[in-house]
Amino acid sequence: MTYAYYPGCSLHATAREYDESTRAVFENLGIGLREIEDWNCCGATALPSTSYLFSLVVPTRNLALAEEQGQDVAVACNSCFVTLRRAKSVYEDNPVWRAKIKEAMGVIGKDFEARIQIKHILDIVVNDVGLETIAATVRNPLHGLKVVPYYGCQIARPKNEFAHPELPTEMDRLLDVLGAEVLRYDHKTKCCGGALMTTKPEAALELERDLLGEAAERGAEAIAVSCPLCQFNLDAYQDKVNKRFQTNYNIPVIYFTQLLGVAQGISPKKLGLKRNLVSIKGLMQKYVGEVI
């Protein structure tokens, strides 16, 4: 099985470790990822503001390229995931806007017929590969590492075939199979603030405090994530939260693919374990005896 892989901009920059660990884990599972040739930015949630129609055709170009490759799309970033799916669902459900999308795509000589599926890599790992198969690949169990699963908002909403919109369980079950102690986390699908961290930091920092606060209260030693925006906001701004609210959080924020890779015994270098800003060195030594 090979997917058309859409890394998106973050995975080539601020979330490089998500890209590295995704590729390593998929290689280990024997699933092919063929990067979509000459993909462009999906436009995320920013583009509909400046141009509504543009925000539908920009992701559609990527989908048309994947369709030319003849493969379903695998996406790691929650925001890319929802953006690509939004374009496809407008195309499928709304004839007026489908006609507009088609007309615009005509100028670059590309057509999209909505024949392919768009899947999140968490869905592929948990549902397509399956947890039994994953369990058989675990070589270094996580030995009770206390972790909260933080899904963020756009992996589950507005709707898709795999995750419950408010209380998904996919990452919980995966981490459990890896040997972690998965703690309850009521904020699991709350928003991380996204780009508001740049434009309205007062409001976004409060959100971050709530997210980190619940994790700390539950005794989490790590927060597992599936989205580069969630990871960045919680990881890169943790010291700002501490400064503003006189807290003392020091909780590593780790991609689920990194934890999966560690459990599978993939070398730390291939998983980008040194790139997380809040260091995960101590945790790795404590639980898997791994020196990174």
């Binding site: 973050s10 920059a13 920013a46 309205k200 040194k274």
Partner: protein, 190 residues
């Protein structure tokens, strides 16, 4: 959000405003709103907004064009879709907010509007996001001191190999430009 309800003169209302918003995909059934407030109760940012989502929706229906275009509700919207999945009337509030952002961006100078404008221009230049370019543009248009504030984080990111000094570009950049021009022509007709 507190305060007295404003007195609205009927002559200042724009009955076509609601129709304009409804012309966007996904924003059609705002008449179904029963003003229950589930959206406002679900939103992470209701407390920071001038108008809660429930109130803003009623303002759109009433045709309070000026007030809506000068609000900041939609600039707080991060598209988390909580309101959308919880609305008992099936209104896609997130798409309504997108439509309002699109209509308001030309006149509303909220920092988030400027951010999105910069994002769009970076996308047109490279076809991909370029964080340094985006931050630089935003700082120059809003607050140059932002660059100083971001300095230490930028250094950390660079040392972790998470910051691209130069932008990554789409090879077929002409695709993006052609699409943008074409969409520009088509949107004049909306």
């Amino acid at each position: 959000m507190t305060g007295e309800l404003p007195v609205i003169q009927e002559a200042s209302l724009d009955p076509d405003f609601k129709r304009l918003v409804e012309s966007f995909s996904g924003a059609q059934n705002i008449n179904a709103c029963i003003q229950c407030g589930t959206c406002s109760g679900s939103c992470s940012f209701s407390e920071s907004m001038k108008h809660t989502p429930r109130r803003l929706l009623e303002m759109v229906r009433a045709g309070m064009r000026e007030e809506v275009l000068n609000s900041d509700t939609y600039w707080y919207c991060t598209s988390c879709y909580y309101c959308t999945v919880r609305c008992p009337r099936g209104i896609n509030l997130t798409e309504v907010m997108y439509a309002l952002k699109h209509v308001a961006i030309a006149v509303n100078k909220d920092k988030n509007a400027v951010f999105y404008d910069c994002f769009n221009s970076v996308l047109q230049s490279y076809g991909r996001l370029y964080e340094n370019g985006l931050l630089l543009k935003l700082a120059l248009k809003t607050d140059p001191l932002m660059l100083v504030a971001y300095g230490p984080l930028g250094v950390k990111m660079f040392l972790k190999g998470k910051l691209n000094i130069l932008p990554s570009r789409v090879r077929a950049l002409s695709d993006i430009r052609q699409l943008y021009d074409k969409v520009g022509e088509m949107e004049e007709k909306i």
